[in-house]
Symmetry: C2
Subunit: 319 residues, 2 copies
């Protein structure tokens, strides 16, 4: 038995873009979009609509900005029932970069924010809904949010926006199932007119399990990425989620196909997924930056595999 | 708050031995034993005590047989509070290979069995307890067990043995948390005088999550391996389990250290962990043999990354 209300959002190009400065080729993005459309995924997020004043277009690829012409090139001629999404970072995006909906191929604008930036996020979400889009808000780094501030932010989102969903984002991959339960209960108790979503990271190999836990707790908006491609240890693997969901509209085969053709070859130039440094950052509830630095050391650096020393150092930095 | 009844068993050398015919060097096993002992792990399983009539000693390494002199070489001079375990396969081991306890360094004999071989397993478990050891029974491939036969086997184990624990073994990595719950309830309802254990595989990245689920359901005997080393997608990573458990007697640092020094270098010659072929076998509840064959194809074989075709083929073989 399946729940038709469940909506799956793939954010491979968006979250994966955090590992390669959004430098995916147009052909790759087109192939991913095509496969995801064929798989029946509900929402496809093709990148950020962030500001060129905040990110250099020389360094960052097209999918950090998602200009309308690039989105059209990636999607034109592809049969798709999916809604097209882009993400705006609350503190790195401009309302002016969002055209009126009638001039855009975008359907959904998701605004990512820390609790402290919720007023910026609300402004961008309202800018989107005012211009005719559907909007959502993703609350990042939720495992660092102070409870009173989180509650106030949720109350504002409930009262001041028309977002269809507010997502719990476990940026540091540090949440256990009981934490997910606790947060879902809190979100649902305040967001009485909105859906709740989850976006999990895999530092502790719990991204998929926590997404299932959210399904059990009646969360309907779920994020995943192909083969988990995403920042650090990556995200909930979409292929696992599709293997779990029973809605007959979903087809796992195009996803398996594009993973073999487009995603696995990226492993030659990008490193994501479970490793000991990320695991350490996950259990210590820390941003993965230090772990990324360790992972990027050359193989002959004696510190690279001295995980006990890294754990010791990170433990001391915890407070 | 921690539960002192929880007993963690590391089976890196035993389950990992299924990926290299138990050909670990003595030095590696000694270093692993030393690190695990320093970490406070309760039980260390150093391999199989299987029959040399069933496995050729030319092909298989010492840890498939765990002769007493090899175990002594691996453990002598190492300070350890851990119990030393070996595994016997119900259909591939001999009672005669088990010396009286007073002549052995082994503390625990775990007997692995399919439901159909439970009488053989009971004979081996009773042989062990009669000779002075503690014994346990691991029920493999539980996701293929027919319910009536499983119940009968559990009833026999309850009535005919003195095992301290009976383990649920998710050999195919196909169980979801609700399946784990269901099986734990069944085991506990029949095994009124025994503890229950879990041994999970990671085909769906659920080995650790399912182990946490078992902890929540009051299961006290937990298996893990260093960096998940084990058959196919591997096992519940011990480092994650140690990061979760709060008993102050556990120390994660020696585990992190030995992973860097001994386990990661094995990736050059052994392949384990989450991959798409194993994921497919997991969601289809199949033995990983076919997936292993696909993974072992040369990289230039066009079938190797044609996952959609593999899924199609395996789906048709399901029944």
């Amino acid at each position: 038995m399946f729940r038709p209300e469940i909506k799956v959002c793939d954010c491979t190009v968006r979250d994966g873009g955090l590992m390669n400065d959004s430098n995916f080729s147009l052909e790759t993005v087109k192939n991913i979009y095509k496969a995801l459309s064929a798989s029946g995924v509900d929402i496809i997020e093709l990148g950020y609509r962030n500001s060129k004043k905040m990110f250099s277009p020389e360094k960052f690829g097209a999918w950090r900005f998602c200009d309308e012409d690039m989105l059209r090139k990636a999607t034109d001629g592809v049969e798709s029932n999916a809604k097209l999404a882009v993400m705006q970072d609350a503190h790195k995006a401009s309302a002016d970069d969002v055209l009126p909906k009638e001039d855009s191929v975008v359907d959904i604008i998701r605004v990512a924010t820390y609790v402290k930036d919720v007023d910026k996020a609300i402004a961008l979400a309202n800018n989107a809904t005012d211009k005719g889009y559907e909007a959502a808000i993703n609350i990042m780094a939720i495992s660092h949010a102070l409870e009173r501030e989180l509650e106030e932010a949720l109350q504002q989102i409930e009262e001041e926006t028309k977002v269809f969903s507010c997502y719990i984002v476990d940026s540091f991959g540090s949440l256990y199932s009981e934490d997910i339960d606790y947060l879902i209960n809190k979100f649902k108790s305040i967001l009485k007119t909105k859906e709740v979503g989850v976006h999990c990271h895999n530092q502790q190999q719990l991204a998929y399990a926590n997404t299932i836990e959210a399904i059990i707790k009646n969360v309907n908006y779920l994020d995943g990425t192909l083969y988990g491609l995403g920042r650090a240890a990556g995200n909930c693997p979409l292929e696992l989620l599709m293997g779990f969901l029973k809605n007959p509209k979903f087809d796992i085969r195009p996803i398996l196909d594009v993973i073999g053709k487009e995603i696995l070859p990226m492993q030659k130039t990008m490193t994501w997924g479970y490793t000991i440094p990320y695991m350490i950052s996950g259990i210590l509830n820390q941003h993965p930056t230090d772990a990324m630095e360790l992972i990027n050391l050359p193989d002959n650096d004696p510190n690279k595999f001295n995980f006990a020393a890294f754990y010791e150092k990170q433990s001391n930095e915890e407070f």
